[in-house]
């Protein structure tokens, strides 16, 4: 009997080894505590000033600030059919009518130049991240499954929305006023959850963690689905438009 108790005691302990730590929180490992500026442009591959001013400003902006986020919206041109409903809503929000135009976060648009971009950037870069977003995605056929994790580092007042946009990188295409083919990144492909995202509620308090899961059907103008990335934007909304930019991140 004593032998049995002794062996059973050991076996309980060792069999417990077989219970692995369940990690069902997905593979999100990029909830950033950095305040990230979102650089936005409206440009076209057939537009000469876009190659003269827009493209160099955009390119330099991302080279100088490589860890910020960005979306590049195109009308119908060599890299996009410009048909995304979310893009139309975002264009209206920023007031983009002609190309090239730029903006950062949810602030007013400006004509692309390095000084204008850096001035706007400097005005917001030292803001504190009140929340961080982690994002990961998997591709199955022509569908992206996107997981997000939003962590609030401070209380955030207002109706907080999380927008989940899909962009495509590494597209080689001609650009008017540029020679040969050049690389186009962050080309807007659409939204996985409405034009400005979906509400996370009005009680986003310090320490709160909100998980999200979304699917996105890749549009027909996608060149290479392996080059798709997800840009998540957190802002508060009033009257159907973003009023305060909180943070953004991309995978």
């Amino acid at each position: 009997m004593k032998k049995l108790i002794f062996i059973l005691a050991l076996s309980v302990g060792f069999i417990s080894c077989s219970k692995e730590d369940a990690d069902s929180t997905s593979a999100i490992t990029n909830v950033s505590s950095t305040y990230k500026v979102m650089i936005v442009e409206y440009t076209a591959t057939w537009c000469p000033p876009c190659g003269t001013y827009g493209y160099p400003t955009w390119k330099l902006g991302h080279e100088t600030h490589p860890y910020e986020t960005g979306i590049s919206m195109h009308p119908s041109d060599g890299v996009s059919d410009g048909a995304s409903a979310a893009q139309a809503a975002l264009k209206t929000f920023w007031g983009f009518s002609g190309t090239p135009s730029m903006a950062i976060n949810n602030l007013p648009k400006f004509y692309p130049s390095t000084s204008a971009l850096e001035g706007a950037y400097a005005g917001v870069k030292n803001n504190i991240a009140k929340a961080g977003i982690g994002v990961s995605h998997t591709l199955s056929g022509a569908t992206l499954t996107i997981n997000t994790k939003t962590v609030f580092f401070n209380d955030v007042a207002g109706d907080v929305y999380l927008a989940v946009y899909v962009v495509e990188n590494d597209m080689m295409n001609t650009q008017s006023s540029q020679s040969g083919t050049v690389e186009h990144d962050h080309v807007f492909r659409g939204s996985a959850n409405g034009n400005f995202g979906e509400s996370l509620g009005t009680s986003c308090t310090k320490g709160k963690v909100i998980d999200g899961s979304y699917t996105f059907a890749c549009p027909s103008d996608t060149r290479n689905m392996a080059n798709l990335h997800v840009v998540c934007v957190l802002w508060t909304m009033v009257g159907g438009v973003p009023t305060t930019y909180i943070n953004s991140n991309m995978d």
């Binding site: 032998k3 005691a9 302990g13 060792f14 077989s18 490992t29 860890y67």
Partner: protein, 214 residues
């Protein structure tokens, strides 16, 4: 399947070890009784163990620091003290106290300049129930169940200038348990050494150190 094989192998090993220590079934009772008088463990005995642990697997439960980036964990050597009292001829009960520390450094996967971290210091308190297997001589093999609480205090790693969010909802403590098999070996009537190994939560897989009994 691999786990089952490992578990079975360990059980088999334990059985073999036990078999080699245990008295033979056909030994006369008078001989067993005589041997018990010479065993290393006795009812009423007070024993103190002071030692260190090896390989303590952290288990932060719901606090998952990996979501914030790449984690680098530096572990300190766990120290522990145990006090046991022999409440029965083959049973002792006592207290476990452990001290442990580790630091977690996080590198933001989206911004490599954003590096921050937390230093966790643990104090562990538990109750031990130990079954001692009789053996003639100076060896005292045993199996022990430890149940207790792991208390944790975290502080920011001040030398790192990143945006530390690990103190937002830090791990503050939780249930601790362990089941281990081990042995005391006494070099004199009172002084010896111990080693024990097993599995649990927030307890070292291996403990070893000095043993004193009165």
């Amino acid at each position: 399947m691999k786990r089952v094989v490992i578990a079975l192998a360990l059980i088999l090993s334990a059985s073999v070890v036990y078999g080699s220590f245990a008295p033979k079934a056909n030994e006369p009772f008078s001989l067993l009784k005589k041997k018990k008088k010479k065993g290393a463990f006795k009812q009423g005995q007070i024993s103190i163990h002071i030692g260190m642990g090896i390989i303590l697997k952290a288990d932060y439960k719901d606090v998952d620091y990996s979501i914030f980036g790449t984690n680098e964990v530096k572990k300190k050597l766990p120290f522990n003290m145990m006090f046991d009292y022999g409440v029965a001829p083959m049973l002792s009960m006592g207290l476990y106290m452990g001290f442990y520390g580790e630091s977690i450094t996080v590198t933001d996967n989206t911004d490599p300049g954003n590096i921050y971290g937390i230093e966790n210091k643990f104090k562990q308190f538990g109750l031990r129930t130990t079954y001692h297997q009789y053996m003639d001589g100076k060896l005292d093999p045993y199996a022990v169940l430890t149940l207790g609480f792991n208390k944790c205090k975290g502080t920011a790693m001040s030398e790192l200038k990143g945006n530390n969010v690990l103190l937002l909802n830090p791990y503050t403590g939780g249930f601790m348990w362990g089941i281990q098999a081990g042995a005391n070996i006494y070099f004199t009537d009172n002084i010896g050494a111990y080693v024990e190994a097993g599995y649990g939560k927030w307890l070292p897989i291996i403990n070893l150190g000095a043993a004193v009994k009165f």
